[in-house]
């Protein structure tokens, strides 16, 4: 077992017992933390691994949420049945929208992905096909029904989000131990060298976007069910900036880093709720200081994740 696996399991253990000590308000905070962790990890696949400056991730998160909301409220699909489309639709949209821009570098890609997010928000707010509910969004989303049981309590929501995070961690572990995850790192570190080693930049960047969007969509679906409502402002560019920041502040491609980043960005504001908006001042400062003092994040990623039989001699 390597360090990442131990940290993942330890984290899952803590989060697994947390609901038995928390009241319902904290349970809701915990659920949101789990959901946002999934989104942050999916952003990390695109930004931290493939190194694509993607600042429109809230669009894919929102696409998953709205897919579940629309299919459930307008077409009467049970929530369970909306899960697959809530993953697949963001994936397909991500592939279609990023394929023409995937070759763009850094800042150029950043601007175009912000554009994607803005267009998505416009579609929602203008109620384009008469199904998004306009600026108010969609209310009255069902709860998950399984084997005749209704999973409506907060603790149900919590454990669904918990399972989703578990699946996400498993996917991240598989990705990092595969040629796909490594190819993303190679492209990130030196794209010319990666290319000359036979790595198709376009394919692996799109792969990152597809997986990232799919996971974000799953988190979105969970988010819609948790609040039984969706509205556009939860998926605006500011949210995308938050996900982007979580990864950079926490530590790109670092599993504990991204968790820490999510905690700092989403849970701390809840803890310091009484300070109202003044708390955001602290955040702004924290973001600035982190980037100056720890440019690779609070908990930077460590490479050298290789099989034990290759580790000999000096460490």
């Amino acid at each position: 077992m390597n360090k990442t696996t131990i940290i993942s399991l330890g984290f899952l253990l803590v989060m697994g017992v947390f609901p038995f000590f928390a009241d319902s308000a904290w349970l809701a905070v915990g659920t949101t933390f789990l959901v946002f962790s999934v989104v942050a990890f999916s952003q990390d696949i695109i930004l931290g691994r493939a190194g694509a400056f993607h600042m429109g991730h809230a669009a894919f998160f929102g696409l998953g949420a709205y897919t579940t909301a629309i299919l459930n409220t307008h077409f009467g699909w049970p929530i369970l049945a909306t899960w697959a489309p809530a993953v697949i639709i963001p994936m397909v949209v991500a592939l279609i929208t990023t394929a023409p821009i995937i070759h763009l570098r850094g800042d150029y890609l950043l601007v175009t992905t912000i554009g994607i997010n803005i267009i998505f928000l416009q579609v929602l707010e203008n109620d384009l096909f008469g199904i998004t509910g306009g600026p108010n969004g969609i209310f009255g989303i069902d709860v998950v029904k399984i084997f005749g049981y209704e999973l409506f309590e907060q603790i149900h929501m919590y454990f669904m989000a918990f399972i989703l995070l578990g699946i996400t961690l498993f996917i991240m572990k598989t990705l990092d131990g595969s040629k796909f995850g490594r190819a993303m790192f190679y492209i990130n570190k030196d794209d010319v060298a990666a290319q000359s080693m036979g790595i198709d930049l376009r394919y692996y960047k799109l792969y990152a976007f597809a997986i990232g969007a799919g996971l974000a969509g799953a988190a979105g679906s969970m988010f819609a069910v948790q609040y039984s409502a969706v509205s556009p402002e939860a998926f605006d560019v500011l949210q995308s900036i938050m996900f982007f920041t979580i990864v950079l502040v926490g530590g790109s491609a670092s599993l504990p880093g991204v968790l820490l980043g999510t905690f700092v960005m989403f849970v701390l504001p809840e803890i310091f709720r009484e300070f109202e908006t003044a708390r955001y001042l602290v955040f702004g400062l924290a973001m600035i200081l982190t980037m100056i003092l720890r440019p690779r994040g609070i908990w930077p990623a460590k490479f050298g994740n290789i099989p034990a039989f290759l580790k000999k001699g000096k460490k």
Binding site: L175, S178, K179, K189, S196
Partner: protein, 258 residues
């Protein structure tokens, strides 16, 4: 099937009116160590960039096993069995030596598209096999002790070795070395020459650019001299050394280093 592994036929490359390569011809036989020499700015690296798909030459043909590969994307060139190193070392500096060499196994890995998220028994087997190969190449280049060390933390000489090990891990037919001895001290250069011979003995054809004349004259079986992108002469070491045109090209241009 052509008797040559690689043929450059009348290749020209222009950069906004400037002629970087001028109707160049050369033929590389299988198993050869082929040298490309010439003064700085002669177009040697441009030629390598044309072969490896980074540039597309405007004119001529690049024949690989008799088939024109001009304009093929760089990642596909690697898939054909042409791997390269860079004049300015390009390693994945923050990643460990083992991970760097593993990038060479990328094109040899048989993982399916879904293996990025779903592990299968074949995926575990593939991973184990390829890491095993990485171990073999680290052994071969004496890099085992650095397996977990970030490549960027190591000395220049070691980094050169990692870059070659990485390219070799892809099991190329043709290895293109762009100034492999640049920045190395005398001992390291000697060691490098031995490694290059070892690589040739493994059945890999080698093309190299080098300024270290002792090294190139002792290693290369055949060489082409170019200047201002154009052919000056080719032949075995002795012929080239005595050729007045070559001497003139070198003495006539004492540029500083690139």
């Amino acid at each position: 099937m052509s008797q040559y592994l690689l043929e450059i036929k009348n290749v020209s490359k222009f950069f906004s009116g400037l002629t970087a390569i001028d109707a160049l011809n050369l033929k590389v036989k299988k198993g050869q160590i082929y040298g490309i020499i010439g003064p700085n700015g002669a177009g040697k690296t441009t030629l390598f960039n044309c072969i490896t798909g980074i540039y597309t030459p405007e004119e001529g043909e690049i024949l690989w096993h008799g088939k024109d590969i001009k304009g093929t994307a760089p990642h596909k060139i690697a898939g054909l069995g042409i791997l390269r190193t860079f004049q300015t070392i390009r390693l994945f500096a923050e990643m460990s030596v083992a991970e760097n060499i593993m990038s060479g196994r990328h094109i040899k890995s048989k993982q399916k598209w879904y293996n990025g998220i779903i592990p299968t028994p074949a995926y575990y087997k593939d991973e184990k096999y390829n890491w095993g190969k990485v171990g073999e190449y680290m052994e071969l280049f004496g890099l085992s002790e650095y397996a977990t060390t970030p490549a960027g933390d190591l000395s220049y000489g070691v980094q050169r070795k990692i870059e070659m090990a990485r390219a070799l891990a892809a099991e190329p037919e043709l290895l293109i070395l762009d100034e492999p001895a640049a920045g190395l001290n005398e001992n390291e250069t000697k060691e490098l020459a031995d490694i290059i011979k070892k690589v040739q003995a493994m059945g890999v054809t080698i093309m190299m650019i080098e300024h270290d004349m002792d090294m190139i004259m002792s290693l290369c079986e055949y060489m082409t001299v170019i200047n201002f992108g154009a052919w000056i002469c080719d032949g075995v070491a002795a012929d080239v050394q005595d050729n007045p045109a070559v001497i003139e090209a070198y003495i006539g241009s004492e540029d500083e280093d690139e």
